[in-house]
Symmetry: C2
Subunit: 234 residues, 2 copies
């Protein structure tokens, strides 16, 4: 009787959306199948895109669903809620941060130079992926019990300590250091993290503007990194 195999569904607001039978004949765009196959990964990529384009405010489950072209309830199965997506994204960010530091310091022998290189890697990541970097600090939005995030955090701390590559991928092993070393590490981390944060928040412009020979904050940061051995002021 019915030529279209549509059973007793109530309504089809957009019937042109799924043309499953003509999939191959329609062109090279394969018809989107009911089962995506790699929806989780697609959603994460979409989430990153939305984060860059619309900022953290626009990053909702509905937004990433729209981006992928999937029902807005689909993400629930893969991430429980928004914090699930954000936590995964933050974990990815920590891995990239670690990779950036490792890459910048790769093969640098001199210890001081090595530390400067790690600092550059840290700040480069923060500047180039500032929204992601910011997200990584937004604890109230992240699921603190997320395992991947925990592992990724430990990994980036390890890369910061410059011990990545020296040990194998034992990122879960504790990094035992003594007190003095911990204090130095804290100080160094704080220094670099503060530079990165102030830089992407455009706060250094104020200082740059009042200095005689500096007219860009990036130059200020470069000079500050070069100093590396510092006192609080003057």
């Amino acid at each position: 009787m019915n030529e279209v195999p549509t059973p007793n569904r109530k309504a089809r607001p957009d019937p042109g959306k799924k043309d499953k039978l003509q999939s191959v004949a329609e062109g090279d765009v394969p018809a989107r199948p009911y089962h995506h196959g790699a929806l989780r990964e697609a959603l994460l990529e979409a989430a990153e895109l939305v984060l860059r384009r619309d900022g953290l405010r626009g990053l909702t489950l509905r937004a990433i669903s729209r981006e992928v072209g999937v029902s807005h309830t689909a993400p629930q199965r893969h991430f429980n809620d928004t914090s699930g997506v954000l936590s995964e994204l933050a974990a990815i960010g920590h891995h990239r941060l670690a990779a950036s530091m490792a890459k910048h310091s790769e093969g640098v022998g001199d210890e001081l130079e090595r530390r400067k290189a790690i600092a550059r890697g840290y700040i480069s990541f923060a500047v180039e992926q500032s929204e992601l970097f910011r997200l990584m600090s937004r604890n109230e939005l992240l699921d603190q019990s997320n395992e991947a995030l925990g592992i990724a955090r430990r990994m980036s701390i390890r890369a910061l300590a410059g011990t990545i590559g020296q040990e194998t991928a034992q990122e879960s092993a504790p990094l035992a250091i003594d007190t003095a070393r911990a204090v130095e590490m804290t100080a160094g981390w704080a220094y670099v993290h503060g530079l990165a944060t102030l830089l992407i928040d455009d706060r250094l412009d104020g200082v740059a503007r009042i200095a005689d020979n500096i007219d860009d904050a990036a130059g200020l940061v470069a000079a500050a990194i070069e100093r590396m051995r510092l006192t609080l002021a003057d």
Copy 2:
């Protein structure tokens, strides 16, 4: 005819709310008048209360209206929108930050000690009023054209440079310094800001936990501040 002077208003859902005629006879609680008198200040206080209690997420125009007990459209007249309230609040925060640094360093003569004291003032403020401190960095929520905020920011930078009190309240005058001084200031600021940020974000616990003799992040920070002259690590 009518004993109550209620004219042709449609409905009174909560008639007990405003008992204007019995104001004095009712007790020492004065009946809330139609005109508040200092609504702007009351709303700002309420905003700070809400910020502490519910965090930034709960800080809405409707929330602060509820807190004061006023119609939820009342704040519109005093602050245009939410960013107006947040900007005023951030400005207050900058003033308090400046005051904290000034107070801690007051009367400290030795230059290095003075800088440590300023750092303690910075970090104390961040820890004690962490939500407010965080708000001050949330540029996307603040009205960058807000004049009070701009002035307050310049003031806190000035206090950070340790020049507060040496000059009069000329907070709008430019703070002319040379390049070397600017680099030092930037480095010092970054260091202290990073310590404060990592501390209130509970990020230092990770380092503290892996150090042999430190089991609290606060101790780590205290030690880091005491060092003050640092290299990136080790």
